[in-house]
């Protein structure tokens, strides 16, 4: 029984290790310092980005203002959906927000959707090619989620300074939320508020995807006896269906909060 538990733990442990290159621990194969690179995360991120780019290019090249084809129709409905969100939430206009939002939405959605690929399939194929560790869901890597969140954070700071001016942005730190008599408190509060934006963005997505993947692994572990197979299939199916909701929702939330944060950066200072 203990041997079995050990195997399960090992199984999960094994599945949680990235394909690491660079500054990696030779024993655990985990990243040892910052200068390690998770090749699998990058490769799947690129593949999905490439898919988006290819579809964008294919659709963008044969655009018609007449009756759209099937693919154009699908893309158009997504674009219109994002456009509506941006229009509803974002004050004023900025030509970057739309592309930014739709890229986040689709890319995060696709990276999340890697979760729906059977958990052992791609690592199995990887092992055939001599790849010992493979984690297929890029959004279960903090590198991806923080990469996105920090990109958004950089834009937040950039637009804060661009719209409000350096002094205006500084004033926001000094006089919000409690007015001019509590400046030290204000600085701490606003700093926390600002830093919380990227951290919450990144950790929310990471946490949801990580937990989702973990549950898929636990379901995969149910196959210790033949009579568990129906339960396993049923549970896996139910969780996958539920997960479709989660991956879409998380992608949508990431996009929505990006728009909201950038909208706040574009709004001149006012009472909270």
């Amino acid at each position: 029984m203990s041997g079995e538990a050990q195997t399960s733990a090992e199984y999960i442990q094994h599945h949680l290790v990235n394909w690491c290159v660079g500054d990696c621990d030779p024993v655990t194969h985990q990243a040892a310092g910052f200068w390690a690179i998770h090749i699998d995360t990058l490769i799947f991120g690129w593949l999905l980005a490439g898919l988006i780019a290819w579809v964008s290019f294919a659709v963008g090249r044969v655009l018609t203002t007449g009756t759209p084809g099937t693919l154009q129709n699908v893309i158009e409905s997504i674009v219109e959906f994002v456009q509506t969100q941006v229009r509803d939430i974002f004050p004023g206009s900025n030509p970057l927000i739309g592309p930014l939002a739709i890229t986040i939405f689709i890319w995060v959605f696709l990276m999340n959707a890697m979760d729906l690929v059977p958990v052992d399939l791609l690592p199995l194929i990887g092992r055939m090619f001599g790849i010992e560790y493979l984690k297929v869901v890029p959004t279960t890597d903090l590198g991806t989620t923080f990469g996105l969140a920090l990109s958004v954070f950089a834009l937040i700071i950039y637009y804060n300074i661009k719209i409000k001016g350096p002094v205006g942005y500084l004033k926001q730190f000094l006089f919000h939320p409690f007015g001019k008599f509590l400046i030290p408190v204000n600085i701490i509060m606003t700093a926390i508020e600002e830093v919380a934006k990227p951290v919450s963005l990144a950790l929310r997505l990471f946490g949801n995807m990580f937990a989702g993947e973990l549950i898929f692994m636990l379901i995969a572990l149910l196959s210790f006896a033949w009579y568990m197979l129906p339960f396993q299939v049923a549970l896996g199916g139910i969780w996958a269906i539920f997960h479709i909701l989660i991956i879409t929702l998380q992608a949508f939330i990431f996009m929505l909060l990006t728009i909201v944060y950038l909208g706040m950066a574009h709004t001149a200072e006012e009472a909270h």
Partner: protein, 156 residues
Amino acid sequence: MNITATLIGQMLTFAVLVWFVQRYLWGPLTAALAERQKKIADGLAAAEKGEHEQELARKRAAEKIGEAKQQAAEIVAQAQKRANEIVEEAKESARAEGERLLTAAQAEIEQEANRAKEKLRGQVVSLAVAGAERVLEKEVDPKAHQKLLADLVAQI
């Protein structure tokens, strides 16, 4: 579960992807959507205009038809009038011709009668002279009785 340099890679990927999507999908597609919206709006406006114009054309056509009908009626009336006139003229000229022919015939008849009378007169004179010769058993010189004979002729 550390944050690694993967982060930098993903940030770069993200930046390039945003640029690409903006360049090849978002920009052209939103432009196409706007254009389609405009096209549809234009189409609707054109349809409305066309409907309006059709209404106008229908009115104009009805007016034209009314006018044409009126003109046709006028022309028919005129033609009938003219026909009547022509018939009247023809009747008139026929009557005049008839009268003329009648007059000419009458004149000729009179002339013939006069000529016959003259002839008869001449014969009556010669008869009378012959009668008188028989009665007198001598020749009568018509010249000598010129005046008497003229009176006689006038009396017949």
